[in-house]
Subunit: 408 residues, 2 copies
Amino acid sequence: MTLIVQKYGGTSVGTPERIGAVADRVINYCRRGHQVVVVVSAMSGETDRLLGLAQQITASPDPREQDMLLATGEQVTIALLTMALQQRGQAARSYTGPQVPIRTDSAYSKARIAAIDADRVRADLTAGHVVVVAGFQGVDEHGHITTLGRGGSDTTAVALATALQADECQIFTDVDGVYTTDPRVVSEARRLARITFEEMLEMASLGSKVLQIRAVEFAGKYNIPLRVLSSFTEGEGTLITYEEDHAVEHALITGIAFNRDETQLTILGVEDRPGVASAILGPIAEANIDVDMIVQNSAHDGTTDFTFTVQRNDYKAALEIVRAIGVRLGAREVKGDDKIVKISLVGVGMRTHAGIASRMFATLAREGINIRMISTSEIKISVVVDQKYLELGVRVLHEAFGLEQEAA
Amino acid sequence: MTLIVQKYGGTSVGTPERIGAVADRVINYCRRGHQVVVVVSAMSGETDRLLGLAQQITASPDPREQDMLLATGEQVTIALLTMALQQRGQAARSYTGPQVPIRTDSAYSKARIAAIDADRVRADLTAGHVVVVAGFQGVDEHGHITTLGRGGSDTTAVALATALQADECQIFTDVDGVYTTDPRVVSEARRLARITFEEMLEMASLGSKVLQIRAVEFAGKYNIPLRVLSSFTEGEGTLITYEEDHAVEHALITGIAFNRDETQLTILGVEDRPGVASAILGPIAEANIDVDMIVQNSAHDGTTDFTFTVQRNDYKAALEIVRAIGVRLGAREVKGDDKIVKISLVGVGMRTHAGIASRMFATLAREGINIRMISTSEIKISVVVDQKYLELGVRVLHEAFGLEQEAA
């Protein structure tokens, strides 16, 4: 007998009929002798409905109250799915995040899981129950309800799989696996049978919406085999494992990720001295805004330009903060741009092959696409370009690196 | 400074606009120097929407899961109302029943409040917050979410008022007070400025939908002044107090209540011996079904007939149980009737005046209305009649006892 944690997203549980289909799928796993824990999101549309109600009351809802509001979404789903399982003769029991409990810090709307006490879930599994847990939510040390932010249900699933030492964590989505890039942008995009945690991390963090980044981090850290599958079709999906576990596909790169959700902030002409970076990023971090790319260029006149990117929904707040910092530091100018996009090549093969970066830049240059920022890591190269070049850039890179073909 | 607990029902918080109006009303009380705790129900229609989702999954939802589902209704409202208060510059904080915590027994869908730990609410009040609490729900000793059953928000409000030793508990509804009878049935029905707890208890238990019976019991037991007011209009409403607190209106009866929600069960011809009543009612109580009226008639042949009433939603279950008991006791026949209605005269004046019952029976007889069951208490007389006689019966009694006129 193996223990599986499954996660079904909002589309998979979008209607009572679909909830019934999920129940059937879960019971199939039970019949094959598995113990199953199911993590679910809010029914698709529900979170937006709730946010819409809040917006009718106030333009800027208090984060604690917004979490209180949104946490109801998953609570509805766990109750309905548990009813559907019971209706089919399968013993089952639902728990909200606070009930498990899934303990988090107090960063409302983007809380991080601190610890999970899985005793209760384990006891129910032993008693023959399917345990249905609300994703996306937890409880802080004062008993306040928190949410992990959108997509946090993946993290809940992986964290539960870790706490329960599950054999596999299965993420059911509306796609049948991880692709070399978004098939809506490049029709030749190909499903990957396997991908390493590191690659998946880069793909996810760069905007592949398949999996939430923290979920992949968690799974990688605790070595929980993670599988992305479709809720609507049969298939093996994409297995995410350690590199050493599988015969590496000898491709230079594995996939191309892109992210429309970033915006750029620039401070021009500040005094080039130690501490300037932290003077700029300190207040940003204090405001709980995550920074992605950071580039600093020193001029020869003793001043420096500093550019970084933040998520779109932090753009306004970040711009305000940076403007205040600009004044304090005597900057020549502060600029913001929310019409940018990031495109990244990802692949563990990159480590052992030189020339990837130059081939990437040459490919983009040939199409007249200007590169505004560059950032590299061991297994990825990212560039920021104007929004309008997104589709073209991804398409030409997909072709240039032969991603439409299976690796030799 | 006084401490007021206010409760707003589903209609009062039915839309974001109405929630805004409730926030305005609450802030008016705060400005007058009161500390305010607000208990709210689910937005009107929400409970039915959730039950509808459940019904699409299963005809008989598990009670635990149904409570899990329904508890989300009030949770949405507390978040929205708190946002509305904050939006207007009033510090406020929301709590679900389990967060307060409001501790209940484990009788899902009709749990009873066992204890309230009000420390958290008190601390927030002292800190200048309006505290917004989800009505209708609590948590059992195992941490499972429970609901108090429909209308339970009134009980939550009164129980909180008791735990906080509040100065007044105000129940805001869509009516402007307690009437001598339902104005939709008798247009001459008159609003009462005051009513005693005992009378209100009888009125509520007999189907006056204004207040939930357990709320009145609670308030009476702990002597919390209770006031019924309209959320939509200004006015004094109806104050519910101890008899000695007010100049008794020297009316014979205070009001006429009726209940369409009862059904009748009869076991005919069982052996007339000690213990037969408990043999019948024991299994009913074990199934957590409340019994209202009970009548037993002994025949001269050593057998007895036993009739009692239960709420409409318990009718099917009760009938099944009674059929089984009938077989076990060798009853001649078991009958059920769900086409009945109960009409009751209520008034503390009844204690000191004879002849009320005979005038009641004579009034009904004059209209050809057959009485099927009679039950009396110190301050009420109830009769069960055929459903079709409801309006006629109430109308002629309202007139016969001069209820349309103010008491002398």
